[in-house]
C-alpha cells in the first residue's frame, strides 16, 4: 500500500513536469526559455514511458529527442538570430481565439476519452521490451523498418542539400 502511494506521487510529479513545462514552451516569451522547457517535457515523457513499462522507448526518447532533436532546435534558434541578441522575443498573434479553440478541443478530447469504454486485454506485466522489439523488427515489421531507414537517409541527405551553400 505504501509502495502504491509512492508510485502515485512520483507519477503525478512527472505528469505535472511534462504538462507544466509544455505550457512554458508554448507561453514563454523568450525563445531560449521555450527550448529549455522542451527539455523537461521530453524527460517527463521518457519518465511516463518508464511508468508504462516501455524501457527501450524511454531510452530512445532520451537519446533521440533530448540528445538529437532538442540540440537541433537549439541550433535553429541560435543560427537564426544574432549571437548577442539579448531579446529573443517570440511574437504571438491571434492569442485569444486560439486559446478558446484549444480549450474547446481539450474539453472535447477528454470528454470522449473518458466516456469511451476501451476494451483491451487489461494491463500487461512489465517485462524488458528490448528483445521483443528487436524480434518484431526483424520478423513482422522488416519492410517498414527498411522503409524507415531509407526515409531517414533521404531526409538527412535532403536536409544537407537544402542548407548547403551554393558555390559562387
Amino acid at each position: 500500500m505504501d509502495n502504491e502511494l509512492l508510485t502515485r506521487i512520483v507519477f503525478y510529479f512527472f505528469a505535472a513536469v511534462t504538462v507544466g513545462s509544455a505550457a512554458v514552451v508554448v507561453f514563454a516569451r523568450n525563445l531560449i526559455r521555450s527550448a529549455f522547457a522542451l527539455l523537461f517535457t521530453f524527460v517527463g515523457v521518457a519518465a511516463l514511458y518508464v511508468f508504462l513499462g516501455a524501457d527501450f522507448l524511454a531510452a530512445t526518447q532520451m537519446v533521440i529527442y533530448v540528445g538529437g532533436i532538442l540540440v537541433l532546435l537549439l541550433f535553429g534558434v541560435m543560427l537564426t538570430h544574432k549571437l548577442y541578441d539579448l531579446n529573443l522575443k517570440a511574437e504571438t498573434f491571434q492569442f485569444l481565439p486560439a486559446l478558446v479553440a484549444v480549450l474547446g478541443l481539450f474539453g472535447i478530447l477528454t470528454t470522449f476519452m473518458l466516456r469511451t469504454r476501451w476494451h483491451g486485454g487489461g494491463q500487461a506485466e512489465s517485462v524488458p521490451t528490448t528483445e521483443l522489439i528487436g524480434e518484431l523488427f526483424m520478423r513482422d515489421y522488416i519492410l517498414p523498418f527498411e522503409a524507415a531507414s531509407i526515409l531517414l537517409l533521404i531526409a538527412l541527405i535532403g536536409a544537407a542539400m537544402i542548407v548547403r551553400r551554393r558555390s559562387e
Binding site: 517535457t41 516501455a54 522507448l57 511574437e91 504571438t92 498573434f93 473518458l114 494491463q123 531517414l152 544537407a160
Partner: protein, 101 residues
C-alpha cells in the same frame, strides 16, 4: 491505481498545448516545437494503449516509427528554416509570403 485515462488526459493536454503553439507563434522554430509536442502526445497514446491491451507490442513499434519520422521532420524543417533565414533574413512566418499571387 494509475489507469489508462491518466495517460490519455496527459496526452490530450500535450496535444492541445502543441496546437496552441502552432497557432499562436510567429517564429518558425517555435512552431516546430509545437509540432514536437503534438508528436510526443501521439506517442504517449500509442505506448499507453500498448500497455493496456495486454502488452500488444504494436503500439511501441509504431511509437518508434513516429520518433524516426520526427527526427527526419526536424532535420528537413530546420534546413528549410535556415535557408529561409538566409534568403529573407528573418524566421517570422508572416514574412515568408513571396509565393503569394
Amino acid at each position: 491505481m494509475i489507469g489508462l485515462n491518466h495517460y490519455l488526459i496527459i496526452s490530450a493536454a500535450l496535444f492541445s498545448l502543441g496546437i496552441m503553439g502552432v497557432l499562436t507563434r510567429k517564429n518558425a522554430v517555435n512552431v516546430l516545437m509545437g509540432v514536437e509536442l503534438i508528436l510526443n502526445s501521439a506517442n504517449i497514446n500509442l505506448v499507453a494503449f500498448s500497455k493496456y491491451s495486454a502488452g500488444n507490442m504494436s503500439g511501441q513499434i509504431f511509437a518508434i516509427f513516429v520518433i524516426v519520422v520526427a527526427a527526419a521532420e526536424a532535420a528537413v524543417a530546420l534546413a528549410i528554416v535556415l535557408s529561409m533565414y538566409r534568403i529573407i533574413k528573418t524566421v517570422n512566418l508572416d514574412r515568408a509570403d513571396t509565393l503569394k499571387g
